[in-house]
């Protein structure tokens, strides 16, 4: 059991190095070899390919990180394409569900299931399954449909995909409100606006 945990830890570290661009070719080969036969890793790579195909439609991408300076370039010379972006983002989509368990990440979030991953499912839910949510609060219909709950009990950390129904809509409302407040409070900072605009609404 301990060996299994150590192997899992090494796999995560190696994938992390791979995504960080710190892995050598040998390490990449080792990661892929260790991943062989692992359905969860296969699922991760399948998602990787899906996102890759989507992103590559926007341009060829290749991550380059090196010490040598680039040829002189004027920022105002026009639109300069970011070769690194697609590759990094692709790598991140793998990494986010792979190596997140290094600190306060619940184990069920750190471990990617063989079935379509939770976060992917959640994103789909945001796109397709959500009803329009009023920022001013939940609808009367939602309130009437609320179930009787127990008070004060502890709860385990859960995958976002397991949050459904009225609770899902309520959380989305509050998350959007939080994101909107952050944007208003940010005095023009980029990231809060990006988070809010990227948060999908129901169609």
């Amino acid at each position: 059991m301990k060996d299994e945990q150590q192997r899992e830890q090494r796999l995560r570290q190696a994938l992390s190095a791979l995504v960080d661009g710190e892995a050598h070719e040998l390490e990449v080969s080792q990661v892929l070899a260790r991943a062989r036969g692992r359905d969860d890793v296969k699922a991760r790579w399948a998602r990787y390919q899906l996102v890759s195909a989507a992103l590559q439609a926007g341009g060829q991408a290749r991550l380059e990180q090196e010490e040598t300076p680039p040829p002189p370039a004027k920022a105002s010379a026009g639109l300069w394409s970011f070769a690194a972006a697609a590759a990094l983002t692709l790598a991140l989509t793998v990494l986010l569900r792979t190596t997140g368990g290094e600190s306060a990440v619940p184990s069920d979030l750190a471990a990617s299931p063989a079935t379509p991953p939770a976060a992917f499912a959640l994103a789909g839910a945001f796109e397709a399954g959500f009803q329009p949510v009023a920022l001013g609060g939940r609808s009367d219909a939602d309130r009437k449909g609320a179930s009787l709950l127990r008070y004060g009990e502890a709860s385990a950390w859960v995958s976002p995909a397991t949050v459904r129904g009225a609770t899902q809509r309520h959380l989305q409302t509050l998350m959007r409100r939080h994101a909107e407040l952050n944007m208003l409070d940010s005095a023009g900072a980029l990231v809060p606006a990006v988070r809010l605009v990227a948060l999908a609404d129901a169609p």
């Binding site: 394409s81 989509t93 306060a104 329009p132 609060g137 409070d185 023009g188 990006v194 809010l196 169609p203």
Partner: protein
């Protein structure tokens, strides 16, 4: 373009001057790192630029287009989502519009009474350590890598890659403490220089939301081991280091805003309990639902949402307790 400076040279010279003045290498590095971040904040405001960026969290990637310019001295900005249903944020000076967002506007009481710059890398709190990384090449540009690390695992860390010529952020990530990223914002293409035409910021159709930008005010309270609330009959016994109370809204649902200048947490306290207790981490955003009884025995639902590890959100929720109503 309004501003162009040889930032790398200038900031390196600043570090050398600090070293000659007796500062240690680490201090000079930190000072230089903070100077880079200040330059980034200024560059984001002062430059005119247009770009396409990717935003990644969990397994989802979203593409957005950003146009940033000026009309007179006012900042004009349009941020458009390119994937899925159209959605935009349009900033025209002190006016903010959200286009394509369903639902009602925020209730008036929820519009911030206090505007602290959050996610404010121009003034990184002392509870974070700023370090210069190695210059790298990113997307064909020379970029300065900068680490912004909290002193504990109750908050997320940040990494930024700033363009050496303009100090604009080419890539920004939020990471677990000494760990992997939970969120990435990265430009895929960026053009800096020409002011966009006024038509780029035209308002087409009726916006769903419109908010005036509130004037800045001072923070309400400080605290690292808890915050005292002025208007609400609740107390929070624990917040992450450096967090302070930013705002409290007494209308239902009661709302508290907490933050440290970079990360923020919103605590919603609802007298109506409807959701099961849970704790989730959705990318950089944690959400925790707990049920608490007030001193009079009435149950309340507490929902903590913020860009902190879910364990921190849970600890904030658990530390919330009732207090006698303020007289």
């Amino acid at each position: 373009m309004r501003r162009r400076a040889p930032l790398a040279l200038r900031l390196c010279l600043g570090g050398l001057i600090m070293l000659s003045g007796g500062a240690t290498g680490a201090e000079a590095t930190a000072a230089s790192g903070r100077a880079w971040l200040e330059a980034m904040a200024a560059a984001l405001r002062a430059n005119a630029y247009e770009g396409v960026l990717s935003y990644a969290r969990d397994d989802a990637v979203t593409e957005l287009r950003l146009v940033h310019g000026h009309q007179g001295s006012a900042i004009y900005e349009r941020l458009s989502r390119l994937d899925g249903a159209p959605k935009e944020m349009l900033r025209r000076g002190d006016e903010l519009f959200l286009l394509g967002q369903e639902g009602e506007a925020l209730p008036p009481a929820a519009v911030p009474r206090v505007q602290h710059p959050v996610t404010n890398f121009g003034d990184v709190p002392e509870t974070y350590q700023v370090q210069l990384g190695t210059p790298v090449r990113l997307g064909g540009r020379r970029a300065q890598h900068i680490f912004v690390d909290p002193q504990d695992a109750t908050r997320f860390a940040y990494q930024l890659w700033l363009d050496e010529e303009t100090a604009l952020p080419l890539r920004m990530t939020m990471n677990y403490h000494q760990g992997a990223p939970v969120e990435v914002v990265q430009f895929r293409a960026l053009a800096v220089g020409e002011e966009p035409p006024e038509a780029a910021f035209a308002l087409a159709g009726q916006p769903v939301h419109q908010h005036p930008v509130a004037p800045a005010q001072a923070a309400l309270a400080h605290g690292s081991e808890g915050v005292a609330l002025e208007a609400l009959s609740w107390r929070i016994a624990w917040v992450p280091p450096g967090f302070q109370l930013l705002a409290e809204v007494a209308d239902q649902p009661v709302m508290l805003r907490l933050g440290d200048g970079l990360a923020t947490v919103t605590v919603f306290i609802d007298a109506e309990v409807e959701d099961e207790p849970l704790a989730v981490q959705h990318g950089p955003t944690a959400a925790v639902v707990r049920h608490l009884r007030h001193c009079d025995g009435r149950p309340h639902q507490v929902t903590v949402i913020g860009e902190v590890p879910v364990g921190s959100a849970e600890r904030i929720a658990q530390s919330l307790h009732c207090a006698d109503p303020p007289s």
